[in-house]
């Protein structure tokens, strides 16, 4: 069975789901309540539920694997109501990651990863094989980590094992409740990036809970902003949430710097790059000098024989005769690649105190340059990158 589930992603639908914790004393909106939630998570997408604490995001998540039962409404996975499923069987088909990880302290890392395969009765050899495969997948050398106990791991390593464990039976759906919340910001950033890279291959359907709007924007293909009382305020791709907040609450929640946040959504590869005057080391200097003076930009970019940037040469420093020596160039612009976010690109340029970043391909060859002005253009409210239109549309069901 698990074999057939491989590389399949599920569709999750909330249909008018409510959870009430109301009692005689607390008649309405106790923390964690959910109010008439309807939304559809398309297959293979990361949907982030975000909101302040008590907004019902974790409750919404736990109703999917029936750790919490809704008061009313239905949750469908691939069209089948979860209420009709045996709860333990259902849970074995859904990956589950929580903030405190909850590794079993008495089992080795390998045994922890193989928990669900063991529950499903896989043969021992296959459990072991799968555990090793997954440890490698999350960047932990199986030979080094398989036989350790959770107490011997760092916080970041524990989170990785938690993710590996959730992936063990190759579930079509993963529920992640603040999965990177318990580690320091540097480790969190790294785990987020690794997870996004992993997800690009695995294409699972993922429901992801966080209280951190930056994390939501970074991780989500779709973001559901929830408000206290369990109201869904907006359900849209992150770019749309930033560009057009549906309510004052959403605008407040994403913060006054939402323009800046959009920078972390756009990557260098999506931008139109500018050409620049270039010459190879060893080329005749006089001709290069003439071309540089003809261009409004007063610098020449010197390249090595494989088109890899060496550095800038000020037009006034280009000799009139002879050839261009590599020593003329000052390597002062940061090198960007297609995957660098505009936020990181801008930050690198500001750090280097320059106006221009050099964009290179994987082999380090020049693709063009990106200027601070080009990035600033993205910040203007009228600038509406196609990301929005390209994203998955449609809130509700």
């Amino acid at each position: 069975m698990p074999e057939q589930a491989a590389h399949r992603a599920a569709i999750v639908e909330y249909q008018h789901v409510s959870k009430s914790y109301a009692t005689a004393k607390l008649p309405r909106s106790a923390p964690g309540a959910v109010n008439d939630l309807s939304l559809t998570v398309p297959a293979g997408k990361i949907c982030v539920l975000v909101g302040p604490s008590g907004c019902g995001k974790t409750t919404s998540l736990k109703m999917v694997n029936r750790l919490i039962e809704p008061t009313s409404g239905r949750i469908l996975i691939d069209g089948a109501d979860v209420a009709g499923r045996d709860a333990t069987e259902l849970r074995r088909e859904i990956g589950y990651v929580i903030q405190q990880v909850g590794l079993f302290p008495h089992q080795t890392v390998g045994a922890n990863v193989a928990v669900v395969p063991r529950l499903l009765g896989w043969p021992a050899a296959r459990q072991r094989e799968r555990a090793e495969e997954l440890l490698a997948l999350v960047g932990l050398d199986p030979a080094l980590y398989r036989d350790r106990f959770p107490a011997q791991l760092s916080g970041g390593e524990r989170q990785r094992v938690g993710v590996a464990r959730a992936l063990a039976a190759d579930p079509p759906l993963m529920l992640m409740d603040e999965p990177f919340g318990a580690v320091d910001p540097i480790v969190r950033e790294r785990l987020q990036n690794e997870f996004l890279r992993l997800q690009a291959e695995l294409a699972k359907t993922i429901l992801f809970v966080t209280h951190d709007i930056d994390e939501a924007i970074k991780m989500g293909d779709l973001v559901a902003v929830m408000q206290a009382g369990g109201h869904l305020e907006q359900f849209a791709p992150p770019a749309e949430i930033l560009a057009a907040p549906a309510s004052e609450f959403v605008a407040d929640f994403v913060g006054a710097d939402r323009g800046l946040k959009r920078l972390s959504l756009t990557r260098v590869g999506e931008m139109a790059l500018q050409p620049v005057v270039t010459a190879r080391a060893g080329d005749p200097a006089g001709e290069a000098r003439a071309r540089t003076f003809a261009d409004p930009f007063p610098y020449l970019l010197l390249l090595d024989p494989s088109d890899r940037p060496i550095g800038w040469v000020n037009q006034r420093h280009i000799p009139g005769t002879g050839t261009l020596a590599p020593s003329l160039a000052t390597p002062m612009s940061p090198l960007l690649d297609r995957r660098t976010t505009l936020k990181d690109a801008l930050s690198m340029m500001l750090d280097a105190d320059v106006q221009t970043g050099i964009v290179v391909d994987r082999a380090g060859r020049l693709r063009g340059v990106l200027t601070v002005e080009a990035i600033a253009a993205v910040l203007r409210p009228s600038a509406d990158p196609e990301v929005i239109a390209a994203g998955t549309s449609g809130a509700g069901s």
Binding site: R91, G102, P105, L119, Q152
Partner: protein, 220 residues
């Protein structure tokens, strides 16, 4: 001071009484553990019952053993039952509390992870909660065993047929404090208690390598 001739002539008796001591103590702890285990599982599952169960075990613990022997002899006679009932009773308070504390000590996130991954209630108890409670359960067994080894000596007051090494202590006392005989009872029983203590430390390390890993990590 020490009557070596008496010792040499009673080696067989000392060996016999030592084995009897071990037997009486082991039987008491084993039965006590079986009862405590069931009570603790019930208390852990139905929290409301924990207080009454724990209180009852506490009250049993306060009953003086000599009074209990006297009362039991009228019901169960001079049988091994009379000797074991108090021994078993006194283990309950230690064992029930330790087993329940062990189960309570399982971190909430571990339970949540177990539920979320699809453990049934029974699988969670046997494969997650009880293994994690082992350090406290063994600690309870260790304490119960050492205290039971001490208590076995007073079963000598029921009749000569019981008491293990306590027989020598009581007999030596009755012979107007014949010290050699009293030592012959007291010293081996102290050694038994120490030996049991060490044995449980060993067992503990053996069955919970993960807890050792944690301790090492905490010290480093």
């Amino acid at each position: 001071m020490i009557d070596w001739v008496w010792l040499a002539g009673h080696l067989d008796a000392i060996v016999y009484r030592t084995w009897q001591h071990v037997y009486l103590a082991a039987l008491g702890v084993a039965i006590g553990f079986a009862i405590s285990f069931v009570l603790a599982l019930v208390a852990a599952r139905y929290r409301l019952l924990y207080s009454p169960i724990s209180a009852l075990a506490g009250i049993l613990y306060t009953i003086p053993s000599l009074a209990l022997f006297a009362a039991l002899i009228s019901i169960t006679g001079f049988s091994v039952v009379t000797a074991e009932v108090p021994l078993v009773m006194y283990t309950l308070v230690i064992l029930v509390r330790n087993i329940v504390a062990g189960l309570d000590g399982v971190p909430a996130e571990v339970l949540e992870a177990a539920d979320g991954m699809g453990y049934t209630r029974r699988q969670r108890l046997w494969r997650v909660e009880l293994p994690l409670a082992v350090p406290l359960i063994v600690a309870g067994l260790r304490l119960a065993t050492v205290s039971t080894i001490g208590l076995v000596t007073i079963t000598a007051t029921i009749s000569d047929a019981f008491g293990g090494l306590g027989y020598f202590i009581l007999d030596g006392y009755h012979r107007l404090t014949f010290l050699t005989e009293m030592y012959a009872g007291a010293l081996p029983s102290i050694l038994l208690a120490l030996g049991a203590d060490l044995l449980f430390v060993r067992v503990q390390r053996r069955v919970t390598p993960w807890a050792q890993a944690r301790a090492l990590e905490a010290n480093s």
